[in-house]
């Protein structure tokens, strides 16, 4: 019996370790980890890579404008007027205002993080990649991390949009209950 518990315990510990390993993000590799052959590979392909980066930067700029506009309008044309209406009618709107202010903060982070990402992409494109392949590689690693941060901001805003929607749903059901 004791050995069975020990086996189960060891199994659980191993599963926990494996899960933790799977969830831990892969450490961003830097140019210092590359062999000279790999650096040569970067040097050989870097002009094509810069072309791909240029196209990505253009499509991301469009995404930034369209998504940014939508996220901003969600706040200024829906959340804020609804909060004001609740307050005008003396309805307890604390949860709503709290969620919308957290949303506004996330929107500000999105703007700042996108700016930082775009500047990093610009830096990567301005590097003489055939002369400095290591520096170019590091610039891409940094841009990758910054793009992930922008994606996290998007996820956070989506989550807050969802939370706000649930609050409205709750208000609707409680209003139906009182009517």
């Amino acid at each position: 019996m004791t050995s069975l518990i020990r086996v189960i315990g060891l199994g659980l510990a191993a599963a926990a370790l494996l899960t933790a390993a799977a969830l831990t993000p892969v450490r961003a590799q830097s140019s210092a980890d590359l062999t000279s052959d790999q650096l040569n590979q970067v040097k050989t392909t870097c002009l094509a890579t810069q072309n791909t980066l240029r196209q990505l930067r253009t499509s991301d700029a469009l995404l930034r404008v369209n998504r940014g506009q939508l996220y901003e309008l969600m706040s200024s044309k829906l959340m804020e007027p609804f909060n004001t209406r609740l307050q005008n009618n003396s309805v307890d709107a604390r949860a709503f205002t709290d969620t919308s202010s957290r949303y506004a903060e996330a929107l500000n982070s999105f703007r700042a993080d996108y700016q930082s990402y775009d500047e990093q992409m610009s830096a990567a494109l301005n590097i003489n990649c055939t002369g400095q392949p290591g520096k170019f590689y590091d610039a891409i690693v940094s841009a990758r991390t910054k793009r992930l941060t922008v994606h996290d901001d998007i996820l956070k805003m989506n989550q807050l949009i969802n939370s706000y929607g649930q609050l409205v749903q709750y208000l609707q059901s409680s209003t139906n209950g009182t009517n």
Binding site: Q38, L56, S59, L70, L78, P81, R111, H151
Partner: protein, 128 residues
């Protein structure tokens, strides 16, 4: 009285006025100070353009004209919810309809997701 001189034929002559450095070069100074002020103002505007993040929203820049036409006109098509009026089942329902439609639009696209900057996608060596 002392400044006025009488010539031989008796007419009064005005003495030649000594011009100051400013007076002698006033056009030169005016033109260059105008250019200097213009340059400073352009410098400040460019700094504001970059620092405020407006540059990222400006798709009229060279290289972005191909996507500029794809900008959606949400500003004019987005329905505004009125901040005045009662809060009742009907008004909340109206809000919910507007909200869920836009929420679906927002959540429908996995913006900046995926990993187009991965080593694999860019043909670079190393495992990300």
């Amino acid at each position: 009285m002392g400044d006025e001189l009488k010539s031989l034929d008796g007419e009064t002559e005005q003495p030649e006025l000594e011009l100051s450095v400013w007076a002698r070069h006033r056009y030169f100074v005016l033109i260059f100070s105008t250019i200097f002020v213009a340059l400073v103002l352009v410098g400040i505007s460019m700094w504001m353009y970059y620092a405020s993040g407006a540059v990222q929203l400006d798709l009229s820049r060279p290289g972005y004209s191909s996507v500029a036409k794809q900008v959606t006109d949400d500003e004019n098509t987005f329905t505004v919810y009125s901040s005045t009026g009662p809060v009742n089942s009907q008004s909340i329902n109206q809000f919910q309809q507007l909200y869920s439609q836009q929420a679906k639009n927002a959540e429908g696209v996995d913006a900046f997701g995926g990993d187009p900057l991965s080593n694999g996608a860019l043909g670079l060596p190393g495992s990300n």
